[in-house]
Symmetry: C2
């Protein structure tokens, strides 16, 4: 059986066209588990098939995910990128790699784009996009099995990590039979769910829990309990010693409140505000909500970054959510 029959031809052509190239496997800025898992796994899979592939991300691999790197080559922007061909993973558009990478890759060949975001703009020559996939790692795992490639234990661990994180530990609506089947095969290849879970969910710096405590103190509901909102202020980072990456998952608390349809997380950074949305179901289309503020994402999970101050943007965001709640 085939997991992604509709992608077979494109992937086959993409693979044939890079056999003799140097390939950069790019992910998005502020990379998460699915991004890093995809970058590392695809790099390893291509290298095992004889392709000179390396992963590239201008932002560092988050601490909690660094156990996935091992000997896999990961470049940063200080290195010479040569005349490499580019393979984007988990990037809805080419700008998602962040401004620093965008500049560095401007004259390169945008060869491939493997992604599961519904908002993907199909910006590359080969666009392998499946918005029904729960994770880009699900797509890469499925393609690897479809093509009979060898999946070594570390590659399997990378792919399982992306699946586990982007499904919210097998909890989101996109968690399909295929997600479970592929996860089972990855376990067979040597992936261990407990390894990823301990690294990601049982390895919390105390400063993160201090930040979480401050964040929970801000939690409120509005709009008859259908809107949940919580914030972290820049001063909280200074006071606790926590960093931006420590707020991963905070937005989920806003949606977890009984009765809440759309959860909003606002994070005051040094000179920007980051906002995240989570919706109870896809009808709320928080991707289009995020787009109003210059961001994007999925129907149930989306985010933006704004140069406005928190006091300027907060009422606009809450008003937009209130409108959306009224429309659905």
């Amino acid at each position: 059986m085939s997991y992604f029959p509709q992608l077979a031809e494109g992937f086959s052509e993409l693979f044939a066209s890079i056999a003799n190239d140097r390939v950069l496997v790019l992910g998005h800025a502020r990379p998460d588990g699915d991004c890093i898992g995809s970058q590392l796994a695809l790099t390893r899979l291509l290298r095992a098939e004889g392709v000179d592939a390396v992963a590239l991300n201008a932002d560092p691999v988050p601490d909690a995910l660094s156990f996935l790197i091992q000997e896999t080559p990961v470049l940063n922007l200080r290195q010479n990128l040569d005349e490499s061909s580019l393979l984007f993973v988990d990037c809805a558009d080419e700008g998602r790699v962040g401004p620093k990478s965008s500049k560095a890759i401007a004259n390169h060949n945008f060869l491939g784009n493997i992604d599961h975001h519904i908002s993907n703009t199909k910006y590359a020559h080969f666009n392998l996009v499946d918005s029904k996939a729960a994770a880009t790692c699900e797509m890469i795992a499925g393609l690897a099995f479809d093509f009979g490639w060898d999946v070594d234990p570390l590659t399997a661990q990378c792919l399982l990590t992306g699946i586990m994180t982007d499904t919210g530990r097998y909890s989101y609506a996109a968690t399909s039979r295929r997600v479970f089947e592929l996860s089972g095969r990855l376990v067979d290849c040597g992936a261990r769910p407990v390894t990823t879970a301990q690294a990601l969910y049982e390895n919390e710096p105390l400063c993160r829990l201090e930040l979480l405590q401050r964040f929970l103190a801000t939690l409120q509901t509005k709009c008859d309990g259908q809107l949940g909102v919580g914030k972290v202020m820049y001063q909280d980072f200074l006071d606790t010693g926590a960093t931006y990456e420590h707020t991963e998952g905070f937005v989920d608390y806003t949606r977890s409140i009984r009765g809440v349809k759309i959860g909003v997380y606002l994070e005051q950074r040094e000179s920007t505000v980051k906002g995240s949305f989570r919706a109870e179901h896809a009808d709320y289309r928080v991707d289009t909500l995020a787009r109003e503020f210059g961001g994007g994402g999925h129907a149930c999970a989306a985010a933006f970054s704004s140069g406005e101050s928190l006091s300027e943007i907060e009422p606009k965001v809450l008003a937009a959510v209130e409108r959306r709640l009224g429309e659905v």
Copy 2:
């Protein structure tokens, strides 16, 4: 292929022997997702095969799991239990059903015992025990598929719920290829992971998050960061309106701190103190630690209840943990 070949003969004989009986499907006191999922699923599966089965638990189905009941018959102890045969699920020994049920079933036929606890005492006529299974629901799902039984959508949802809860959302070490394969088949039968996840993990009363915030404010590490401890005071319950059942899972935060080997949660109740332990691995044997304070449990997860005051018991508990850390 067969999921539980070693249980096939026993299950076949068990099933043959109950064809004309009235069967009570019993679970343990203070039932969790795997217990309720197993009781309801096995009751439904047997009824679909023509057996007069009903579920029985002296304790009520927890609110968060009540969506799984629907039309499945669930008895309480006020009803006449007749001359029914008993099938225990998820019970390591017959006493796990709790004192009220134990009395009511004393003269009945202890026919079957389907369970995954390593400490199972094999107290019934047919003992189907597999301590490698991650959940009793995993065993029931595997047996149902092995025997070619029809698994309707609600039965599949019950089984998926037990698997999801007893694997910590596919995070614990026992999360095997079989766990994922069976979960995939349950999705095919109509189970929806998001339904269980939303009922269990995204349906938090705001008072619980207020209590969590107060609890997190007490988190500390001791013993060079190897001991994590956090508390909830009785006044916190009064102030937030939260109840004892809202502290479910708080102990996991104490163990989730980076570097912590043993996590301790202390809860000041009206006239008692509840204590819970979590260990990074089984060598810490927190079950024997809990026993020092009149409790018990598993090597990595144990609890006690004490009549001493918090100020009396807390230093004793922390000293005992410190000793244990020194010994291992």
